[in-house]
């Protein structure tokens, strides 16, 4: 196992507000890493940095040892980092199938027919549980379905590492269980590294190998799930007193 993604001293400010402060992190191949923290801690911003939507004010970002700090989103995607959005953004006026096909095209490995791409997209839709929705216009899906669609689209780009921003939000406990199984399959079958943000503690504790906790842009804790839940700083900032 080797490190695939690594960030060193990443910082990002918006006006006077520093959303991400000097964060170091790494993702090992095949790992599931959770990212938690209070609202506004800078989690999504960190994802935006990694996927190239923002460029860090300071710090460097590496993918397999290659410096990707200044690359644009599509380049990073083609190098192997896929993502979903917390506030979903499927291609609203296109069908589900087309949404996923775009992801496949985004891989940029040419010489394949539209028909074959279509077939592959169908498989991916089935994989995330959207079979039967191929022709549905994405705008007509429910929020959760849109999230799954985004996941299929991200998977379609065949990333080495995939960034999932709150894909479980809005699922009920039993649905969460199914989703966790899906995530596990992504790791084991598709051999992808998973970096995910989640506020559903039960799930993230259960499925993550390692958890990073942010607060006010800074990394306040990193470690195994058990270590995290008992850390007083994490409890104070994020979990709140009673529960644990």
């Amino acid at each position: 196992m080797g490190t695939i993604v690594e960030g060193k001293g990443l910082s990002k400010s918006f006006g006077g507000l520093t959303a991400v402060k000097k964060i170091d992190f790494y993702l090992e191949e095949g790992e599931i890493v959770g990212l938690i923290g209070p609202n506004g801690a800078g989690k999504t911003t960190l994802f935006n940095l990694v996927s190239g939507i923002f460029h860090p004010d300071e710090g460097k970002l590496f993918l397999n040892g290659r410096d990707i700090t200044e690359l644009r989103p599509f380049e990073i995607c083609r190098l192997g980092i896929g993502r979903t959005f917390q506030i979903v953004r499927p291609f609203l006026k296109m069908s589900c199938l087309e949404n996923v096909m775009v992801g496949i095209i985004g891989r940029n490995d040419r010489n394949r027919g539209r028909a074959e791409i279509g077939r592959e997209a169908e498989d991916l839709l089935k994989f995330v549980g959207l079979d039967g929705f191929e022709g549905t216009i994405a705008g007509n899906l429910t929020l959760i379905q849109k999230k799954r669609l985004e996941m299929a689209r991200a998977l379609a780009t065949e990333p080495r590492a995939i960034l999932l921003d709150e894909v479980l939000a809005g699922l009920n406990p039993s649905e969460i269980l199914q989703a966790l199984a899906l995530i596990e399959t992504i790791r084991s079958k598709l051999k992808m590294t998973i970096f995910w943000i989640e506020h559903v503690m039960g799930a993230i504790m259960k499925a993550s190998d390692r958890i990073i906790v942010l607060d006010q842009g800074e990394k306040i804790k990193e470690g195994k799930p058990e270590e995290i839940v008992s850390d007083p700083r994490v409890i104070g900032a994020y979990l709140g007193e009673t529960d644990a």
């Binding site: 939507i53 989103p73 599509f74 896929g82 993502r83 291609f91 985004g106 991200a154 379609a156 780009t157």
Partner: protein, 307 residues
């Protein structure tokens, strides 16, 4: 490709060979102009209908093609056959440049910038009358030494068919899908590995080049190039044809071009009312049948031979 899909265009093309044998000079002229508009409306549709970028510079690009080719012919004696290719190249380059400027902004900004561009072009052309002969128009040689409507008809026909094939291929390729993705959500497309900038510029460049080519042909056919070619009035016609025919469909603009050009021959007798009638037709179609005549004829028909 299934058989049905294949033979319908072929029949059309074969039918298109015959008009010079029975049409009068006058109607042949109308057909030639219609073919010009087919090229313009279809290539405009490529960006407006398929990537949703309503450009107002399309007529301007055809003007660039026309003027470049025309001026090369007049001042350097270059053959129009080469000239139109150079004109197309220059239009493509400027399209690339303008596309590059516009990619940062979507929608309305693009529309207004292209509007500005076409105004700048118009002003330059009218003011630099020493070279362009201003509003007086630049007299240029034609393609053929012997003036013959039939030859022009076939020339326009062949090139129009070539352009249509390219357009058809683009919208039915992966590129077409990426165009739409970029249009839907640029950030999401980018994060899915689509080089959004490239896609947008590419679309813009291709369509500008096509307009440049069409403009060059048109100029050498009329043997007179005036600032009216790159004017907003011309732009209106092109837009009206695409809208009336059906934007975002392959056949729509083709149909629209013939419909409108032929219609205009009939309503010409109403003189001053004729632009108004045009406008009203376009307006009611845009308002009540946003998918155009094609939409009215029904998707079914289109699916037979275009999709």
């Amino acid at each position: 490709m299934n058989v049905k899909k294949f033979w319908i265009p072929v029949v059309f093309i074969i039918l298109a060979i015959f008009p010079p044998f029975f049409l009068s000079q006058y109607w042949l002229h109308v057909m030639i102009i219609s073919l010009f508009y087919v090229m313009m409306a279809s290539s405009w549709n490529l960006i407006a209908g398929f990537t949703g970028q309503v450009s107002f510079a399309h007529a301007a690009f055809s003007g660039i093609g026309a003027y470049v080719s025309g001026m090369l012919a007049v001042y350097l004696g270059l053959s129009p056959w080469l000239g139109i290719l150079v004109g197309m190249g220059v239009a493509a380059l400027l399209g690339l440049g303008l596309g590059y400027l516009c990619i940062r902004m979507g929608g309305i900004y693009l529309s207004l910038t292209t509007l500005g561009f076409s105004e700048i072009l118009r002003i330059i052309i009218t003011n630099e009358d020493r070279w362009t002969r201003g509003t007086m128009g630049l007299q240029v040689p034609g393609f053929f030494t012997e003036y013959s409507k039939a030859s022009y008809y076939y020339l326009f026909l062949i090139i129009a068919i070539l352009l249509l094939i390219v357009i058809y291929w683009i919208i039915h390729s992966e590129m077409g899908l990426t165009f739409r993705a970029v249009l839907n959500d640029e950030l999401a497309a980018s994060s899915s590995g689509i080089n959004t900038i490239q896609v947008r510029i590419l679309a813009f460049t291709i369509s500008s080049a096509m307009a440049g080519l069409a403009g060059g042909l048109y100029g050498h056919y009329l043997m007179l190039i005036t600032p009216d070619i790159p004017s907003l009035g011309q732009m209106f016609l092109v837009l009206a044809m695409a809208v009336i025919g059906g934007m975002g469909s392959f056949v729509g603009p083709i149909l629209g071009s013939f419909l409108l050009e032929i219609l205009s021959e009939y309503i010409r007798i109403y003189g001053e009312y004729h632009v108004l009638i045009f406008g009203l037709v376009a307006l009611s179609v845009a308002r009540f049948a946003p998918e155009g005549v094609i939409g009215i004829l029904g998707k079914k028909w289109e699916s037979v031979w275009a999709r």
